[in-house]
Amino acid sequence: MANIPGIPVYKEIGATPAPATGGGADRARVVIVGAGPVGLAMALDLGRRGHEVVVLSRLDFIAHASKAICFSKRSLDILDRLGVGDPALAKGVTWNVGKVYWGEADDPVYQFDMLPVKDQKRPGFINIQQYYIEEYLLDGVMKLPNVEVRWGHRVYGVTSKDDGAELAVTADDGGVYTLEAEWLIACDGARSTVRDLLGLDFEGRVFEDNFLIADIRMKHEMPSERWFWFDPPFNRGKSALMHKQPDDVWRLDFQLGWDIDRAAAIRPENVEPFVKAMLGDVEFEQEWYSVYTFQCRRMARFVHGRTIFAGDSAHLVSPFGARGCNGGFADVDNLGWKLDLVLKGEADEGLIESYNDEAITTADENILNSSRSTDFLTPKSTASQALRDAVLELARDHAFARPFVNSGRLSTAVHYPASGLSTPDTETWTSGVAPGAPVLDAPHGDGWLLDALGDDFVLLTRGWQGEAPAGVRLIEISGLAAERLGLGEGGAALVRPDHYVAARWHTIDPAAVDAALKRAKGGMA
C-alpha cells in the first residue's frame, strides 16, 4: 500500500525502516532529498563515482503521474554517461521534427528539426513517461552498494552548518532520527521542503493561464513528431499540443484560459469533447487528466553553504520547451563531477560556486526562453495579439517570418560563455566548439565520441600522442569528430567530465594544458 493516498502508483517499493542509530546521529557524506528524476540521477552520478550517498524519499513508491515526457538529446547524452541511456531509447518514442499549425490549414506554417547536425548517437528528443526514467535510474542506483534510498522518509527540520547540514527525519515506521550530512542536495521539487525549512526565496513571474493535460490511450497512426496548433478549430482562440508517448499513450494539451473551474475541467465529460473535436470520433481511454498553471521562478542562489539546490527546487519554467526535467538533468551533470572532486579533496570547495554560476546561467536561459514562448502563446494585450497573428499569417507565405513563430524553443544544451572555469581562446578559431560549450557528438572508432569521453577529464587531440596531465585521459580523434571540434593536426581540446570544452589549442602546449586543467578545477578565479 502506498504511503500517501491520492497519487497513482507506478511501482510499489515499500517503506524503509528507520536506521538504528543507537541514540546518536546517523551520518552520510552526501544526502539527497527527493527521489524524482533529478534526485535519482544525482545519486547515480555520485554513486558511480564511489561516494556514499543517502537518498530520502517522502513517497514509498514511484508515482504513475503524468509529468515530464520530453527528454532532450542532451539529457539522453547524460543518461548515457550514467549508463541508463539504452533502456530509455528502447522504450521511448524518438522524434526530431516539430510542426506548427495555425487555424484550419492542413499544412504547417512552420516546422523545425531538433537534430540539424546528423551523425550523432542520440536523436533530438524522445518522449517517455517520467516514471520509466525514474525506474531506469533507480535500477542503476540499486546496483551500487554505496547508495541507499530510504523510502517513506520525510525531512521536517534542516539546520545549515559550516561543515554540512543536520536533518531531522521521520520514517513511516514511526522512527525519528537525526541525519548529519557533509553535503545536502535538495532535489525535492517545486514545493521543496528543504527550501521552505531554510526560509529561502523563490522569485519570478506567475502566468495567468490554465492548460489541460489529457493523457489518453488509443490506437492512432501519426508520425512521431511534435504537433502544435495556434487557434485551431477545436480550440478557438487558444492553442493545443499533441505528443506521442510509449504504450499507445498520447499527450494532448489544451490551453483553457484564465477564468475557469479547474475541478470541472478535468471531469471526463468535459475532457471528452476536446479530444473528439481534435481527433474525431476515436475510441480512447483516460490515462491521466490534470489542469496546470505555471510559473517562471528561480532562487537567487542555488548554493547555500553546504546545501545545494538542483532541479525544480531551484528553478521552475513553463512546460513549453521541455526545459523543466531537462534543466534538472543539466544541474546534475554540472554538479556531479565538481562535488566528486571536492569530496575526494582534489579541488577546493570553491569549485561548487561555479555550479551556482553555471546552473544559474542555464536556469536563466531556460526561464528567458520559456517566458518568451509563453508571451507568444498567450498574448497579453490586443497589440501583442495582433503582432502574434501577423507573424503566423506572414509565416504561411514568407520564410522570413518563420523564425518568429514560437511554440516553445525546445531544450538544448546551454552554453557558459563567461564561465570562470574556461580558458578563453587566445587564437583565432573559425569553426569547432568554443570553451563553455559541450562537445558535439560524432562517430569515433566503432562507437561514438561522447561515449568515449565518459566521466573524466579528457584531452582530445589530433595527431598528437604525448602525455596528458595526471587524471586526464588522452583520446586521439580524427575524421568527422576532429572536424566538428575544429581541430587540425597537432590541435587539442581539454574537455570537462560533463563534456563541456574547457580550453582548446591549434598547437598543443603541455604547460597550457596544465594551466587550463587547474583553472577548470576551480584553481583560478
Binding site: T382, A383, A386, A390, V391, L394, A401, F404
Partner: protein, 69 residues
C-alpha cells in the same frame, strides 16, 4: 552608413502625400483588430527588409512616446 536615418528620405511632398494615402487605404474596410494586425505585418516586413538590428532598435526607441521611454 549606419544608424537610423531620420532626415527626409522619400522625395517630395507629393510623394509623401501619396505614401500617406496608401497607408490610410491599407486599412479600408478593416476592423480595428484586423487593422492592428496589418500594421504589425507591415512593421515585420519592413524590419526584415532593413535587416539591421541596430537600426531597428533605434527606430523602436524613436517610435516610443517620450513619457513612456
Amino acid at each position: 552608413m549606419t544608424g537610423l536615418n531620420t532626415t527626409p528620405n522619400l522625395g517630395t511632398n507629393a510623394s509623401a502625400d501619396d505614401l500617406y494615402q496608401k497607408l490610410v487605404a491599407l486599412h479600408d474596410g478593416l476592423s480595428e483588430a484586423d487593422s492592428l494586425r496589418v500594421w504589425a505585418k507591415l512593421v515585420l516586413i519592413l524590419a526584415n527588409h532593413i535587416g539591421d538590428r541596430e537600426v531597428i532598435e533605434q527606430a523602436i526607441v524613436a517610435a516610443r512616446p517620450v513619457a513612456a521611454a
